[in-house]
Point group: C2
Chain length 420, copies 2
C-alpha cells in the first residue's frame, strides 16, 4: 500500500486537523465507524443536558410558564442561528414542521405569487419526496405542468438543460441544492439568476447542504428555501425543519396552512386570520418543543467551527475518500457515482457496485461500518466534518474492500424487503 | 364554611379516590397548584426515562439503526394505543404532524370525496386555529361557502341550529368535540348521524377530549378525526398530533401533502408517488422522534387507569368545582361560563369575571395557582383526573376568592400585551 494510503498517513491528517477537537463534543461509540451523518447526525454531548433541562425543568416544573420563557420564541430564535449558516438575515428563517410540509407551504405560496404562468421546473436528482409534495401542491394549486429535467448519468445536470427548461411560462424552479444520491451540487447563484431573468421564483431544498456547504441565500437573492436540521446540523432524529423567505417577499406571500402560531394576537382567539408580521406568518401549529430544543446545541457547534473551515475539511476528506476508492475499490468493481469535480460535490460520496445492497448489509453486520444505501446500488458515505476523522474514512474503505475480497456479502439477500 | 366545602372534606374525597395512586406517576411541584393540564399535561415520571433512552441509547448509540428498531413504526404503534382511547380500530389512528396540519390534510381529502357539494359547516365554539386552517383549505380546494353556526351564549350550541345548517349541499361538518373555551361537549354520535343522513362527512377535533372523555369513534361511525397529545394525554409540549380515518375510507381518500413517510417502498426512491396501504398514507415527512417517543408513557398511563374511571372522577371533580364556585365565587361576581349540565361538559370549567385577566395574573404571581386564561374574561380550570386532586381544586378556589376579597388583582394591567 503506498504511503498516502496507510493508517499512519490518516492519523497524521487527523493530527493536523484544526477542527479535530469538535469530535469530543459528540457521543462516539469507538466500536462503530459512522459515515451516515448526512442521514442522521451524531448526538452532541451538550444536547443531552439541553434536553434534560427542557424535560425536567421546563416541562416538569415550569409547565405552561415555559411558553413565555423561551418556548414560544424558539422557532424564531433558533431560526436566526440557522440563518447565519445559510447566509440569510436573522429575520428570514424560522423553524417549523417537517421539510415536506414547509415545501408544500412555500410551493403553494410561490405559485400564488406568479399567476398566469403554467409550469414548474425541477430535476430527477431532487429528493423524490420533494417531487411527491410538488405534485400534491400542483393538484391543488391549479393547472400547471411539471417539467422534470433528467440527468444523463444520474450524477449531475448539465447547466444548459436547466437553462433550456426555464422560460417565461415558468412560475417556480425548485431543486435540491445538494443531490441526496450523488452529492451533486447545483450552482445556486447561477440558477437563481436564471430563474429571475425568466421572471420565475426559486425554492431551494438545502437539506443535504446545511452545516457542510457554504450557502449565500442573501447574496444570491434567493426567494425561498427549506431544509432539515437532523443531518449535518445534528439536531436529532426527525428534528423540526426550517424555512426561509426573503424579507421583501414575506409580506407578499400567504401561508396556505394558516394556524394559530402564525396568527397576530393569537390569544385574542378571534375567528378571522390575521397573519403575524414577517417570517412568523409561515408558522402553523404548535411546535414539538422537545425536538425543537434539541436542535440548538448542534447549530451552536457549527457556528463555533465556522462553515468555511468545515467546507475546507469536507473537501479534503471527500478527496481522500476518492483517492482511496481509486486505489482500493475501483479494482474491485466499485464505480464513483458522485461528481469528481470538487466544486460540484457536496459532503457525501456514493460508490456503486452491482452487489451494492448485499455488500452494504455485510458492511454493517460484519464490519461495524455504517454508511447509507441508496437504490439501486449506491453505498453512500457521508463526511460530517465536525466529527468524521480521516482514520474513519480510511478504515471504512479498507473494511469495504475486505467485504468484497473475502466474499462476505454472498450470504445476504439481493433484494431489500419492502416497508408496508 | 359548610362541611362539604372545608379542607377535610376535600382530603376525604382524595382518600376515597380509586385513581389517587396515579398522581405519584407525575412530577408534582408541591408549591404550585396546577389546573392547566388541559393546555399542557404534567410530566410523567416514566417519560423522563423514556426520553433519556431515546436520546442517549437510540440517537446516541444506535443512530440510524434505530429507524428499523422502533422509530419507523412508532407513528403506527403509538397510534394504535391512542385508538384504544377513542374507540377506534388499531389500524385507524396514526401519529403525525401538528393538529393543524392534520386538519388541513383531512379537510382537503374530505372535500375531494364529496364533489358537487358547496358548503362546510362548523361553529364559533371551534378552536379559532381550526377555522383558520379551514379557510386556508377552502381557498385551495374550490368554491365552498363556510357556515359558522353561532352560539347564542358563548357556552353551547342548540342542536336545532346545527340541524338547520346541515343539508344536502354540505360536504363536511367539522367541530371540536369539547369546546376549548366553555368546555361544551357536542353530541358526537348524534351530529355524526345528522351529517351522514345529509350525505356529508364529519371531522371531529378531539384535542380537548382525548384522555378525559369517553369517545366512541367506531360505534358512532365517525369518518375523520384529529387531536393533540399534549393536553390530557401528557405527551409533552407540542407533542405530535394524531389523525383518524375510518378503515373503509382510507383507500378512497388521498393525502394532499404526499411525502416519503406515506410512500410505498419509499426506499426505492421512485419519482412517482404510490401511497402506503391504510392509515400510513396520511403520513408526510419525517416525524420528530424525540417528541414522538415522549408521548407513549402518558398514553400508557391513561390506558392503565381506563377512560370510564377517569371520566367518572372528572365529573365528580368538575361538579365539586362548580359547587365551590356557587358557594364562594358567585357572590364575588364570577359567572359560570361552562355548561351546568354534566352530560354536556368536558373536563374543564371556565369562570368569567369582569376583571378576569387581572385576577388571572394575580392568581399566578401571588397565589401560585396556574389556571389558563381565555379571552375576554375566562379563567379556565382544567381537571386532569390522572393527577388533579380534590384538595387542589378546593385550594385553588379558596385562593381565587382571596385574590378578589383582598383586592390583590388591582395592581395588574387590564390588557394582555400582544405577541408580535
Amino acid at each position: 500500500m503506498p504511503g498516502s494510503l496507510d493508517a499512519d498517513f490518516a492519523r497524521e491528517l487527523d493530527a493536523r486537523d484544526p477542527l479535530a477537537r469538535f469530535r469530543d463534543e459528540f457521543i462516539v461509540d469507538p466500536d462503530t465507524l459512522y459515515l451516515d451523518g448526512n442521514s442522521l447526525g451524531r448526538l452532541p454531548r451538550r444536547s443531552i443536558e439541553r434536553i434534560r433541562q427542557a424535560v425536567e425543568h421546563e416541562w416538569g416544573r415550569q409547565l405552561i410558564r415555559a411558553w413565555g420563557d423561551g418556548w414560544f420564541d424558539a422557532p424564531r430564535r433558533i431560526g436566526a442561528k440557522i440563518a447565519a449558516l445559510v447566509g440569510a438575515g436573522d429575520d428570514e428563517v424560522i423553524v417549523a414542521d417537517s421539510t415536506s410540509v414547509n415545501l408544500f407551504k412555500l410551493i403553494v405560496a410561490a405559485l400564488r405569487a406568479r399567476p398566469g404562468r403554467s409550469k414548474i421546473v425541477t430535476d430527477d436528482l431532487n429528493f423524490p419526496s420533494d417531487i411527491y409534495v410538488l405534485r400534491g401542491a400542483l393538484e391543488l394549486a391549479g393547472d400547471y405542468g411539471l417539467e422534470i429535467v433528467r440527468s444523463p448519468d444520474g450524477i449531475g445536470i448539465p447547466g444548459e438543460a436547466l437553462a433550456d427548461a426555464i422560460d417565461d411560462r415558468t412560475a417556480l424552479v425548485t431543486l435540491s441544492h445538494t443531490a441526496f444520491k450523488s452529492g451533486y451540487v447545483h450552482d445556486l447563484a447561477g440558477i437563481t439568476a436564471l430563474a429571475h431573468r425568466a421572471g420565475a421564483l426559486v425554492l431551494w431544498d438545502l437539506s443535504h447542504s446545511v452545516g457542510a456547504m457554504p450557502i449565500a441565500l442573501g447574496e444570491a437573492d434567493v426567494d425561498l428555501a427549506v431544509g432539515c436540521t437532523y443531518k449535518y446540523a445534528n439536531g436529532g432524529p426527525g428534528a423540526p425543519a426550517f424555512l426561509y423567505v426573503r424579507r421583501d417577499l414575506q409580506g407578499a406571500l400567504t401561508n396556505p396552512i394558516p394556524g394559530w402560531f402564525g396568527q397576530r394576537a393569537a390569544f385574542d382567539f378571534g375567528l378571522d386570520y390575521e397573519p403575524r408580521h414577517g417570517i412568523a406568518r409561515f408558522l402553523t401549529g404548535t411546535p414539538p418543543v422537545l425536538s425543537l430544543a434539541a436542535i440548538e446545541p448542534g447549530i451552536d457547534l457549527l457556528l463555533e467551527a465556522g462553515i468555511a473551515p468545515l467546507r475546507e475539511k469536507s473537501v479534503r476528506q471527500t478527496e481522500y475518500l476518492i483517492a482511496l476508492w481509486e486505489a482500493l475499490l475501483q479494482p474491485l468493481g466499485f464505480t464513483l457515482n458522485s461528481p469528481r469535480d470538487t466544486g460540484r460535490r457536496g459532503s457525501h460520496v456514493s460508490l456503486g457496485h452491482p452487489d451494492g445492497w448485499r455488500i452494504d448489509q455485510a458492511l454493517i453486520a460484519e464490519m461495524r461500518v455504517l454508511p447509507d444505501f441508496r437504490h439501486p446500488d449506491n453505498i453512500r458515505f457521508g463526511v460530517a466534518p465536525l466529527y468524521t476523522s480521516f482514520a474513519d474514512i480510511r478504515e471504512a474503505v479498507v473494511r469495504l474492500a475486505r467485504v468484497v475480497t473475502e466474499r462476505r456479502f454472498e450470504k445476504y439477500p439481493r433484494e431489500r424487503s419492502e416497508v408496508t
